[in-house]
């Protein structure tokens, strides 16, 4: 297992390198630049800025410099937020996104799995149709619609919860709900489908035939196997949700790193784009690895060799 773990980590290095190389050169191809303004900056100022940020060097040299800095854990200075380094901004924002994301995904797991199992056990009944119908709605309605509606109802009309801001437990409620709704829906649907399939499988029938009580059959055999597709869904989903949501963070004024993804590329903040891309890439690789390890714990057929 350790061997497997190390091998996978080793395999991640070329993947990351390709991600870095592609995004480094792609962002430079985009028209405009980090110092473009409504009123153009005078040529001598632009030259000074380019010098300051080493943008006057040949591209390959900049790339080598970037890789060198990266190996020392430095993502470089942000072009847009001039008082900060990209590493600082990511380290400052990530704990917030992580907290929010983990809360949302945990809640989504608890509710989504319960709903999925419940619907599967009551297949083709009103319970099934209602949960699946509602979850379809959950997937279809994007969070940029859900979030403003939530703030309108709970923040403005009822006045129960703050509309935006960060730092107090009450600030978590609406963003977590807005973030987890679509995840609940996806998880519930996945779980239901896989549960139904597992319930029809031979070994579940065998377990029933052995006279095991329904509860044991479900807990030991059915649910454990049915979780597999959910686990592979969770790998990228967790990486996605803990790196923050552009929409949610903007709407609720949450200081996470989600909004940097879009803002940085719109601003041509080269180092920031690279920083969040590399960070996100590494997280996805890591979460997928965790999902694969979890697979082994759940599925006796999986061997790490």
């Amino acid at each position: 297992m350790l061997n497997f773990f190390l091998r996978r980590l080793g395999g991640a290095i070329p993947t990351l390198f390709i991600i870095i190389a592609i995004s480094f050169f792609m962002i430079r191809l985009a028209p405009g630049g980090p110092f473009a303004r409504e009123r153009q900056v005078p040529p001598e100022v632009l030259a000074a800025l380019n010098r300051q940020y080493h943008l006057d060097e040949p591209l390959w040299q900049q790339f080598l410099r970037y890789i060198g800095d990266l190996l020392q854990g430095d993502f470089g200075p942000s072009f847009k937020y001039k008082d900060f380094r990209v590493t600082d901004l990511i380290l400052q924002g990530f704990p917030t996104s992580l907290q929010l994301g983990l809360l949302a995904i945990s809640l989504a797991l608890i509710i989504g799995l319960s709903l999925g199992i419940w619907a599967a056990l009551r297949q083709n009944t009103i319970v099934d149709y209602t949960t699946m119908g509602v979850s379809m709605l959950g997937i279809a309605v994007p969070n940029f619609v859900v979030a403003p509606v939530l703030t309108l109802i709970f923040g403005l009309m009822l006045g129960w919860l703050p509309v935006g801001g960060w730092g107090h437990p009450a600030n978590y409620v609406l963003p977590v709900i807005a973030l987890c709704l679509s995840q609940i829906a996806s998880i519930a649907r996945l779980m239901r489908a896989s549960m139904i399939e597992v319930l029809r499988s031979n070994y579940v029938r065998t377990a029933h035939a052995k006279g095991l009580p329904e509860r044991i059959v479900l807990r030991r055999h059915a649910i454990r196997a049915a979780l597999l597709p959910v686990v592979s869904f969770l790998g990228p989903a967790i990486a996605n949700i803990i790196t923050g949501s552009v929409v949610i963070e903007q709407i609720f004024s949450i200081p996470g790193i989600g909004r940097y993804f879009v803002q940085a590329s719109l601003n041509r903040d080269y180092t920031m784009v690279m920083g969040v891309t590399v960070f996100y890439g590494a997280l996805i690789i890591f979460c997928n690895l965790l999902a694969d390890l979890a697979y082994g714990l759940l599925d006796p057929k999986v061997r790490y060799d």
Binding site: P31, Q40, K82, P148, L161, S253
Partner: protein
């Protein structure tokens, strides 16, 4: 169910209230201000925008500053003498301390101005100082050389006297010195902390407030500076700035009482606001013009003034201001917007015509130039991604259609749009300019033929250049304004751009805020404001 939910949430909400205001409200008066977006930097030599200035003006005070009504007020300089030729300004500085207790001296300003101009600082806005003797030379020092500051016309004769010499008389100097680029910085802090000097704990200022907390993308807090010379009259203990990028959500936070002042007002809510929240809504002229710039290097618009005039005539500005943008703008008839000091505005020749007559004239002009219903004038209108720009562009497109102009809309993302504009790969492009100081020069000097890249129309009229440059040598303010007015007249006759609208400042200001006074530069210093408990 509903009752249960209420029971569940109420304690949390009550706790939130307690944390947010309960035990602090009696002790502290806090102003919550929506500030549009995350500031790019707090370093005055590196910042370029209003969002940054709003915070910098609380933390730092320049030689001159803003009065409550936006007029020029003495800042660190209590008074100034101007030489007869208008070229030498002697500023007398008050006895004042930095927030760390050190005295503020004339040398601090010498250092700050040198730093602004030093090519190593790479300040976007450094050219604003070009009126000062030697500034342009220092600014353009080759990268491998050390700038020669001895030639710069900024000298401290003693701790409390600063002498600034100019290249040419600049009657708007004291107004311009309020610009954030000219704010002083603390040499010791800058040298000790380097790029980190703007962080809480490191920041040393001389303003009414000091930096206390800064969480990027969440909030920035400034607290009252006990060392400020007028601290006795500063009523607020704390101002918290929030980056409110989503205008709709900012308005909701305002309505929920989480913000006292908003940065913007959503234009789709203006009807509701005017009927329900009229007393808290401020929408007044701002020192900015929204215009369509014409690429003069391209045929046929570049060469045929009649065509530019036809385009300008066909636009119904009242409809744009009142219907299309819901009163977010005023109809615009000039390049320099109203409100630049004593300047008497001059307008496009067709300002007093009826719209129907304008349309008629536009059709005649197009016909005379050989265009008509069978052969429409084809142009491309470039604008950057924004709901407002889109609405306006679509409206203008249909107005042009009426007179037989076939405009294709080209929407580009901001950076791509800037690139297209800079490369002059457009026919007509949306643009806007907000004045840096309350003088027509803040607008007029952009279109001098030697203004370089800033002159994005490629405008070149020797007569205009001559008038604008002549104005610089005139010390009589009235005469100077007259010459500038003549210059704008020449400019508007040539129509290198089509003025569309004037900007408005738009804010929601809570009734608990006192001391907020409208001014057309839209700077409102915390030292004049106070909040009453709810």
């Amino acid at each position: 169910m509903k009752e249960a939910l209420r029971k569940l949430l109420l304690p949390a909400v009550a706790a939130a209230g307690l944390m947010a205001g309960g035990f602090s409200a009696q002790a502290e008066s806090v102003l919550h201000r929506g500030n549009g977006a995350e500031p790019e930097t707090l370093d005055p030599a590196k910042s370029t925008g209003v969002i940054e200035s709003n915070i910098q003006y609380e933390l730092l005070e320049g030689l001159t500053t803003y009065a409550e009504n936006g007029d020029v007020a003495p800042g660190v300089a209590t008074k100034w003498d101007i030489s007869d030729d208008g070229l030498t300004y002697t500023f007398h500085l008050r006895d004042e301390k930095w927030s760390n207790g050190d005295p503020v001296t004339a040398n601090d300003f010498v250092y700050s101005f040198q730093r602004l101009l030093d090519p190593k600082t790479a300040s976007d806005y450094a050219p604003i100082a070009d009126v000062i003797a030697g500034a342009a030379e220092v600014r353009k020092t080759a990268p491998d050389k050390t700038p020669d500051f001895s030639k710069l016309g900024v000298k401290a004769t003693d701790d409390h006297t600063l002498v600034v010499t100019l290249n040419k008389p600049t009657p708007y100097l004291v107004s311009m010195l309020r610009h954030s680029s000219f704010l002083p910085v603390n040499k010791a802090a800058v040298e000790k902390f380097g790029a980190d000097w703007t962080k809480p704990g490191n920041f040393v200022g001389n303003g009414a407030f000091t930096l206390s907390e800064w969480t990027p993308q969440s909030s920035l807090t400034v607290v009252k500076n006990p060392n400020f010379y007028d601290a006795a009259n500063v009523k607020l203990d704390k101002i918290i700035y929030y980056p409110t990028e989503d205008i709709g959500e900012e308005f909701k936070r305002y309505r929920a009482g989480e913000l006292d002042i908003t940065y913007e007002v959503p234009s789709d809510q203006i009807k509701f606001i005017e009927s329900k929240l009229k007393d808290e809504y401020e929408a007044k002229p701002y020192l900015g013009t929204y215009y369509y710039v014409i690429n003069l290097t391209r045929e046929p618009l570049g060469k045929q003034k009649a065509l530019r005039e036809a385009l300008a005539l066909a636009i119904d500005r009242d409809t744009l201001a009142e219907k299309v943008t819901q009163g977010s703008f005023l109809p615009g008839w000039s390049w320099v917007p109203p409100g630049t000091g004593d300047y008497q505005n001059t307008y496009v020749s067709f300002k007093d015509m009826k719209q129907a007559d304008r349309v008629k004239k536009a059709k005649e002009l197009l016909k005379a130039a050989g265009y008509g219903p069978d052969k429409p004038l084809k142009i491309e209108l470039l604008y950057n991604t924004s709901e407002n720009h889109k609405k306006i562009a679509i409206a203008v497109q249909s107005m042009w259609k009426q007179v037989g102009v076939d405009a294709t809309l080209n929407n580009q993302e901001w950076q791509v749009y800037l690139d297209t504009r800079d490369n002059k790969a457009y026919d007509v492009a949306r643009a806007a300019w907000i004045g840096d100081y309350a003088d027509p020069m803040s607008f007029l000097d952009i279109f001098l033929s030697d203004a370089g890249v800033r002159n994005d129309a490629g405008y070149n009229n020797p007569k205009y250049d001559e008038l604008v440059k002549k104005s610089a040598g005139i010390s009589d303010p009235k005469e100077r304004m007259q010459v500038l007015q003549d210059a704008e007249k020449v400019f508007l006759d040539d129509l290198p751009l089509i003025p569309l609208l004037y900007y408005k400042t738009k804010h929601m200001v809570s009734k608990r805020v006192a001391g907020w006074t409208y001014n057309n530069l839209d700077f409102h210093l915390g030292r004049y404001m106070s909040v009453s408990a709810n």
